[in-house]
């Protein structure tokens, strides 16, 4: 019977070659898939916001209303996200990154700075080493909060790809935050020489 016939060495080699080709084809497809996944994730990795810097919130000086623990936690989370977004926006000259965390005057002034940076080919990079936030005012109706923020930061100023200057140290900010639908947004943000 033909089925029982022993394959010749040539047949055996041909079969092995076919099997090898199938394996190679599978390997190529697998490699292509891995490459596709890596490439599709690359922009996310490249443009992803840096991890928010540590924010410590101190509420014992808040007036005229005490800050509830849940509010303090929300402010810590949202203020940290706002800084991560702002650092990234100033580095990339991309105003849309500010929309989720900034409103009013702060959003408008930062928007102007970003436009001016883009027009002049400039950008700045803030390497954030953490914020110590003290709530000084929390309105009775809970609609506004003012904080004094002492931040440890490194700021790098660039003209195109050329680093112009790098500074490191303590920077003080005065911020006003207001609650939005489900988060606190920064409405006023000013650098101040002292509190």
């Amino acid at each position: 019977m033909r089925d029982d016939a022993k394959p010749s060495p040539i047949d055996f080699h041909l079969q092995q070659l076919a099997r090898d080709r199938r394996v190679v084809r599978l390997l190529v497809i697998a490699a292509a898939l891995v490459l596709a996944v890596v490439l599709s994730a690359l922009p996310l990795w490249l443009w992803a916001s840096p991890a928010p810097a540590a924010v410590k919130v101190e509420t014992s000086s808040a007036q005229p209303r005490e800050v509830e623990d849940s509010t303090a936690q929300a402010v810590r989370r949202d203020y940290a996200q706002a800084w991560a977004a702002m650092s990234h926006a100033l580095d990339q000259n991309n105003g849309s990154m500010l929309d989720a965390n900034f409103a009013g005057t702060a959003r408008e002034k930062l928007g102007r700075a970003l436009k001016a940076q883009a027009a002049n080919g400039l950008h700045r990079r803030i390497v954030d080493h953490g914020h110590s936030v003290r709530v000084t005012f929390y309105s009775l109706d809970g609609s506004a909060m003012q904080v004094e923020d002492t931040a440890q930061q490194e700021t790098e100023y660039f003209d195109g790809g050329t680093l112009l200057k790098s500074e490191q140290g303590t920077v003080r900010y005065l911020a006003v935050l207001t609650p939005a639908e489900n988060s606190w947004k920064v409405r006023i943000l000013e650098t101040v020489p002292n509190f």
Binding site: K109, A116, T136, F137, K165, V176
Partner: protein
């Protein structure tokens, strides 16, 4: 003597160092000239809270326009790899952002109205210098209540009592030449006393059940300051008799609440609105 001279020399040196390290301060929206030192032409970079610029200048001086410095904050000027700081502070108060809460408040409530004022200059910078802010609440009757507060970091706040008369109260915040007005609607507080009376209902020809019913009606319902409690406020009439309990929720209409309840000798009628309980009537057994 030699020690004394050395001490004076050190003190003078320290003062000179402090003076040279002092950061220049200017007012927002005002042009200025900054001495960056050096000489010859150079590219100067300006980074600020709302600006960024790159200019060719002739050192040592660089001129900055009012537009360059409209936002308060710390600016960084970079020339030849050297950074110079410039502090821009807010100008005089030009605008107020006034948050007044709530928009509706019961009359004669202590500390029920609160206002927060944020002080800005003409460039929307927070005015951090302490300013006197006056909060004034003018009742519908014309009576005024005023509180004065000193702003801190551009914020001032006050807590006011609502007036005794219902109607639109004017809540005004003033700082410098600026003032902002908000309207707070004062509405009657909880009823002060509820007094009801009961009478047999007129027989209705369409009623085939042949049962007798009671009409219970309140006197005009007012709060403790004499303001009519708003129409639509729910008043609950309850009748408890041998056959159980009947409850009717009626809305105040033209200052009076009215309902019909089943009539039964010896039944106990009561009336309430919110947390306020009115008089009780025992039907057929005197009040």
């Amino acid at each position: 003597m030699k020690r004394k001279v050395t001490f004076i020399y050190v003190v003078v040196l320290l003062f000179a160092a402090a003076a040279s390290a002092q950061v220049k301060q200017v007012r927002a929206g005002e042009a200025t000239t900054v001495d960056l030192g050096g000489s010859g032409s150079a590219t100067v970079y300006l980074f600020g809270p709302a600006t960024a610029a790159k200019r060719k200048v002739q050192l040592p001086k660089v001129e900055l326009s009012a537009d360059d410095l409209s936002a308060a904050g710390v600016y960084t000027l970079i020339a030849n790899g050297k950074a110079t700081k410039l502090v821009v502070t807010a100008g005089p108060v030009s605008e107020l952002a006034f948050l007044a809460r709530p928009s509706r408040v019961p009359t004669a409530a202590n500390g029920a109205i609160n206002g927060s004022a944020f002080l800005f200059d003409k460039n929307q910078n927070l005015v951090r210098t302490p300013e006197t802010v006056q909060f004034q609440l003018q009742e519908p009757s014309g009576k005024e209540e005023t509180r004065t507060s000193t702003s801190k970091n551009g914020v001032a706040w006050a807590r006011m009592n609502s007036g005794k008369k219902s109607g639109a109260a004017q809540f005004v915040a003033r700082a410098g030449e600026s003032s902002v007005r908000r309207v707070v609607q004062q509405v009657a507080a909880d009823p002060c006393n509820i007094h009801m009376h009961a009478a047999l209902a007129q027989p209705d020809a369409r009623d085939v059940s042949n049962s007798t019913r009671l009409v219970v009606e309140t006197d005009p319902i007012r709060d403790c300051s004499g303001n009519a409690v708003p129409d639509g406020t729910i008043v609950t009439f309850t009748s408890v008799g041998k056959h159980g309990r009947s409850t009717v929720d009626a809305r105040i209409k033209q200052g009076i609440a009215r309902a019909e309840l089943p009539s039964e000798p010896g039944e106990r009628l009561s009336v309430a609105a919110g947390v306020v309980v009115g008089n009780e009537i025992v039907w057929g057994g005197g009040q």
